[in-house]
Amino acid sequence: MSARLASVVVFVAASTLVARAQNAAFSTKVEAVRVDVLVTDKGQPVRGLTPADFEIFDNGVLQQVDLVSFEQIPLNVILALDMSDSVAGERLDHLRIAGHALLNGLKKDDQAALVTFRRDVTLDADLTTDAAAVRAALDEAEPAGATALVDGAYSAIVVGESDVGRALLIVFSDGLDTSSWLPSESVLESAKRSDVVAYAVSVGRARAEFLRDLTSFTGGRLFEIEKTANLSAIFLSVLEEFRQRYLVSYTPHGVARDGWHRLTVRVKRGGTVKARPGYLAGS
């Protein structure tokens, strides 16, 4: 059963190269696991790896890697941006410039979406290949009120899961969460169940525990910065790094379905591997 389902995933993953509108409705039952993996050697990305080069251990059990994709699969980039009061002014200018730079760096089949959060959470632009529409939405977003960072991040994760493409979530916040309903633990649990890879930029004095955990659990990275002048460079470096990642897929066997699955990813020929530390399955 699981082998057949796994093949469905492979098929759909491949089909996204040509057919974008697929919906991931089947994904609730699929047991295949996708892991975004960055492999570097002396800081430089390692290219040309095949399934045979990877070893994936799920709860210590070596798995059969089904598929490794590199660059072929378009990206779904979800920007989740803090639009609370404290962003107003120069920070907003830098954020818009950085957002534009990132959107300009997308390829033709890549999609982008914009989620902003104040005390409420807004979908300013749904996933689309029309980068201009997302740019326009970013230009129109205005800061106001408190910061629902956790609610915003969660909503963006769900948007990221709404399409079968590889989802890159970029969260930007300059503040502490002051108005979310969802507890951070609950959202981190959702992140552990998700294929979305989260990167985050935390500006200023805010303690960024939530963003640190979010990026850690999803295999992304947290940038903690004081000033936003170089935000464009950070956004572009995130995009560049994500493009260098392999999408490795396997169907778990020899492990219990539910609960936390500790992942270990290795590359036989050596190198530094960055991937999410595990995933959560079952309720």
Partner: protein, 462 residues
């Protein structure tokens, strides 16, 4: 009696300018203060209000000291020694005045207490050294005494400073080293989870509290604010006002609780205050600020603040078992303390004893979270769905429903609820009461204040 006092008033107006010995600016300020108390219409920004509001903080601090002396003299015109103790301090400080200042302060106390005709005040020739405004004040104070309330200036003075304090709650000046007998209050402004601007604030609230500390109930010759209904209503209204404006002052409710230890409303507001103190934006902002040496914010960890809140709210519901909003807040606090089963009990009580849609919304939302924490996702989803029905414009229940769907592996359900969240996106804080939960306990603050000042409005008592 009233006619003779009026006649005296006319005479005094002539005499006072010629005979009054020079006094210090501090005592002159006390006199101006009494005249402001006389003319101020509570709840308004009239000239008297404007005059007092314009005084520098150092002057207001000195006024606190001199009003302590004035009030002592009002109660006993013969005393000659003033030992001032700041709220919460053990050490007293002796205040000394020059003979001229002392004399003038006694005259002012005679007028403020409506005692111009009393033996001690007559001996001071208080009437002769009192101008028309002060004699009018004396007449009103005396009339109040005849009605059984010897607290005319105390109550009206407190209301004047209440108005000033409420008009510019965030006003601060640079911090100066403590040097006088007056209390020093530091105020931290918060913005989006950060402390911005630590400054020294004027002690208007301290003056109001101090004045009301000396209120004597009808028929008593001893200060006993605990048995005065106006003082009780003042603390309820002002504490609610502070919370409604996110203008927090622990001392205020500590004092209220000290006077009214068994008042469920005051215990409730204490609970709500400490519940708010546990919030991340307060914790982060306060713990991130460097205070001058020797000064502290009275703030515990978030867990400690929730524990404090639990204690106050438990007492409130013990004293008033049908206090639905106290049950609600207690349920939320218990949820945050990791006691979801206990939280469910309190929230069930809140729903059983209350019929307010707002409270039912909160109770449904918190019940959902408590049941989710207990692993009962079915019941949690039902609670959240009920919250969504009660507040169709709110995002929070749909975020919660989405999260539950996600936990259960139902990605399409999670997405469906998030789409609803996006459809409900709104800049209006009214759309989701969760966003204003930290001030909702004080939503009746303006009504309480209106009820408080109503007996003091023109025509009511003068």
């Amino acid at each position: 009696m009233r006619r003779s006092l009026a006649a005296l008033l006319c005479l005094a107006g002539v005499v006072v300018n010629a005979a009054a010995p020079p006094v210090s600016p501090r005592i002159a300020r006390v006199e101006r203060w009494l005249k402001a108390v006389l003319t101020h219409e509570p709840g308004t920004s009239d000239d008297a209000f404007g005059a007092v509001a314009a005084w520098p903080m150092a002057s207001v601090g000195a006024l606190w000291v001199d009003l302590n002396s004035l009030v002592a003299l009002m109660r006993n015109p013969r005393i000659a020694r003033f030992d001032i103790r700041q709220p919460g301090q053990r050490v007293t400080q002796s205040i000394r005045y020059t003979p001229n200042d002392m004399h003038r302060l006694r005259i002012l106390a005679c007028a403020a207490a409506g005692l111009v005709q009393h033996q001690e005040c007559l001996a001071l020739k208080a009437g002769a050294e009192t101008d028309g405004d002060l004699l009018r004040l004396a007449r009103l104070a005396e009339a109040s005494v005849r009605r059984g309330d010897a607290n005319y200036v105390l109550r009206r003075g407190a209301l004047l400073h209440t108005d000033v304090a409420m008009a510019s709650p965030a006003a601060t000046e640079p911090i100066e080293p403590p040097g006088s007998a007056a209390p020093q209050r530091l105020r931290l402004s918060l913005d989006d989870g950060f402390g911005k601007g630590l400054g020294q604030s004027a002690v208007h609230w301290e003056i109001a509290r101090m004045l009301l500390d000396h209120v004597q109930p009808a028929g008593s010759d001893k200060a006993d604010p605990a048995h005065d209904d106006m003082v009780r209503r003042w603390y309820r209204a002002t504490a609610a006002w502070m919370q409604s404006r996110e203008n927090y002052e622990t001392l205020h409710l500590d004092r209220a609780r000290g006077i009214f230890p068994d008042d469920p409303d005051i215990l409730f507001l204490n609970g709500a205050l400490h519940e708010t103190y546990a919030a991340p934006h307060i914790q982060s902002a306060v713990h991130g600020v460097s205070l001058p040496s020797g000064m502290t914010f009275d703030l515990d960890s978030d867990h400690g603040e929730f524990r404090r809140a639990e204690g106050f709210l438990r007492r409130a519901v013990t004293l008033q078992p049908d206090f639905s909003e106290a049950h609600l807040r207690l349920g939320h606090v218990l949820l945050r303390l990791g006691k979801p089963a206990d939280a469910v009990k309190e929230l069930t009580q809140a729903i059983a004893t209350g019929d307010d849609d707002l409270l039912r919304y909160y109770a449904a939302l918190f019940s959902g979270a408590a049941r989710e924490a207990l692993g009962d996702f079915e019941a949690a989803a039902e609670s959240y769905a009920r919250a969504a029905e009660l507040q169709p414009s709110a995002q929070s229940p749909h975020l919660a429903l989405s999260s539950i769907a996600r936990r259960r592996g139902d990605r399409s359900g999670a997405l469906r609820e998030i789409r609803l969240v996006f459809e409900l996106a709104s800049g209006s804080e009214d759309d989701d009461p969760w966003w204003t939960y930290h001030t909702a306990q004080a939503r009746n603050a303006d009504d309480l204040l209106a009820e408080l000042i109503q007996p003091f409005l023109s025509g009511s008592d003068r």
